[in-house]
Symmetry: C2
Subunit: 417 residues, 2 copies
């Protein structure tokens, strides 16, 4: 895409109330914009990143054999009364009445919906196991939504729910999801640690969180360097020694990027989601649920992939793969011609290119926008580089600049670069 | 996908309160399920169709040069007070208060949001034209939501907004969108007519609707066979003769599948979304908006593509391309082996195959599910067909059954079948 046609307006000023780097850079790069507290617009660049993260997650879910569904925002109060969560869930539901004075709520999590779908369809152990997931908007009536995309009142979430009859199969699936999550976070360029966690109002027998160590995280976790044990302080309280090996614990201020719950029969029991076992007995279905909030993951990617000038997107989630810049020149026709041809060639090869073709910007302004936006690879065409029949090539993550002959650029840039 | 692993439970009974064919078949085929009035779950098969329609629309929007964004559900009341639509929009907004007693609403349409985004970024005529779209959930506080997916209170909509400074450019873009819409409806297998329409609470200077003639549609349109004129009765009232050529009009009960609005300066004026023109004057931006509701389009596809046994999906939106069935047999191993190999071969070729490998179903039950679900191409492997080293091939839209040699099937089924 040509920058002159991209709907974007980068900002030099740090937005007031933006204390986190991810908040600052994502707003300054015009990826996102806040409307009301904890509610954000995703502008063209921001939505490109959002969709790439979605797609990474979707592929991992399909690899697990999960099937995608799409469940509604407006909730059936009856279901929430069955689990007694209408009044008790924390943060509380957004509730309201329609024009017929019928009460409804906005969905914060989908255990009730999923169990209702499943109990209507599962009869015997032969109908199990399976898993369902969706990528859909959730609403949380938070007291304080802060930190840009880190704590929102409205956000898109991937939530996966699994249904088994054999405990060992659920344990096995739960551990497969753990591996999937590590894959997802690795692809997103985020080093996540899995720790024991408190289950909150979702509940269940056991749960794990995926944590990214960061000063701006709201969670405190303990990690034992000796045996690898990790736990959220919310679960274990203020402890000094590892409960497993008595080793010394490190305390880290961390961001939770994923949470998985071994629910067991918590929801299936109260909502009568049963199956008939091999020997004819009615038994409650075993469940797990597994969530990743996409905007928070996006913010975390920025928190761990940036420098003093802007974002450094990992290539798997970058809005474009290549940022091509033509610099102002005394012979603009020649520079534009070469850059324009390069742009078309790279696009023909299926590469995603942002071409900064703007005429009214200085070299400095173009480089500043490029660093801020954070596309992995920068190509520069200028009068100077053309004197040597070259263009300049630089990775966003590196300082080193290289001159490359124009006619060798195609072999230089691999499709997967 | 193997049917034994697909999360689906088809139903023989017509759901009570389902008067439309699309409602009946989509529920019976377990594509969708209602929770509360006008609110539906999309189950695995249904969501596959939903996503295919989304993708057809997204591609056409990108062809128009539109850029994708993602805007929030929770609305900023201030913006709605600027246009005076907080209290006046019809159907009324779903409004409620958060835990801090701050009032918000669920998004029914995005003119306010879009104008706010644009007025913060556009300064001069040089920043125009451009267009933004999204595929996102909308909420309408309807009095009566009926007819399955035809009139919902919550649904995913594609909404496109265009911003121009030259009137002739907007007129030109408006007509390009018309062509895009015809492409979309054609790909979806829906014969749409474009007619003049009333602009309702969206407003603007002029609007057109895309109508599919159907007995179950809520709209009445007049069509002139002589000059091609068409209009919604809501706009022109009860007329007998064509206002253009005095020809005789036909009256048709129709479904609206798309609505486009030439808004002009209606929103930009009241919200001060201005640009500086070539001669330095501040002028309001010219706007258009263009919507397609995805579930209603999905229902309309079924209304015009079905027979007495079930749905006949056009291949572009079908949940799978091929429905492969192995029939019960006295030699099940041989049938399963051939069908299983065929399944893997077709999948390797990138074809989307639903393989009915169920052991506990009769031939009649399998054929009934197949006709109901409506996948374009059916392949049957049975003891009888194998006697001739054949399988049976049948298009869902045709009655004719053909026997084809197993080793020639790969050349028989083209990738685009």
């Amino acid at each position: 895409m040509r920058h002159s046609q991209l709907f974007i307006q980068t900002k030099k000023e740090i937005p007031k109330d933006a204390f986190n780097i991810s908040h600052q850079y994502l707003v300054r790069g015009d990826f996102i914009e806040q409307t009301i507290s904890g509610v954000y617009r995703f502008l063209p660049l921001g939505f490109k990143v959002h969709r790439k993260i979605e797609q990474i997650i979707r592929e991992e879910m399909l690899n697990l054999g999960a099937q995608e569904v799409y469940l509604p925002v407006l909730q059936d109060k009856k279901l929430w009364l069955e689990t007694n969560r209408w009044k008790t869930i924390d943060p509380p539901l957004f509730t309201f009445k329609d024009r017929h004075q019928k009460e409804t709520a906005l969905v914060p999590t989908d255990e009730e919906e999923m169990v209702d779908i499943v109990r209507k369809r599962v009869k015997s152990y032969q109908d199990l196991p399976f898993s369902l997931f969706q990528i859909q908007t959730k609403f949380r009536n938070e007291t304080r939504a802060t930190g840009g995309l880190l704590r929102l009142r409205e956000f898109v979430m991937k939530d996966l729910y699994s249904f088994h009859h054999e405990k060992k199969d659920l344990v096995n699936f739960y551990s497969k999801v753990k591996n999937s999550y590590f894959q997802i976070f690795k692809k997103c360029g985020v080093p996540a640690i899995c720790v024991e966690a408190s289950s909150g109002t979702i509940g269940g027998e056991l749960s794990h969180e995926f944590m990214v160590v960061s000063e701006i995280g709201e969670d405190k976790i303990f990690i034992c360097k000796k045996c690898g044990f990790g736990a959220n302080m919310e679960k274990v309280g203020e402890i000094k020694k590892c409960p497993k090996c008595k080793g010394i614990l490190e305390k880290k201020n961390s961001i939770e990027v994923g949470h998985i719950f071994y629910l067991g029969t918590k929801y299936s029991k109260v909502m009568s989601a049963n199956y008939r076992s091999k020997n004819g007995k009615l038994k409650p279905i075993l469940m797990g649920c597994y969530g990743i909030g996409i905007p928070r993951l996006m913010a975390t990617i920025v928190e761990v992939n940036h420098d003093g000038k802007g974002i450094i997107w990992p290539k798997e989630v970058a809005p474009f793969q290549i940022h091509l810049i033509s610099l102002p020149s005394t012979k603009p026709e020649r520079v534009d011609k070469v850059a324009g041809r390069l742009y078309r060639d790279l696009q023909k090869r299926g590469l995603e290119v942002l071409y900064d073709d703007r005429k009214d910007k200085s070299a400095g302004e173009k480089f500043a926008d490029c660093d801020l936006i954070g596309i992995p690879l920068r190509l520069v065409v200028s009068e100077n580089t053309l004197k040597q029949n070259c263009l300049e090539i630089k990775k966003r993550s590196e300082k080193k600049v290289k001159l490359v002959k124009i006619n060798s650029i195609n072999s230089y840039i691999r499709k997967d670069s």
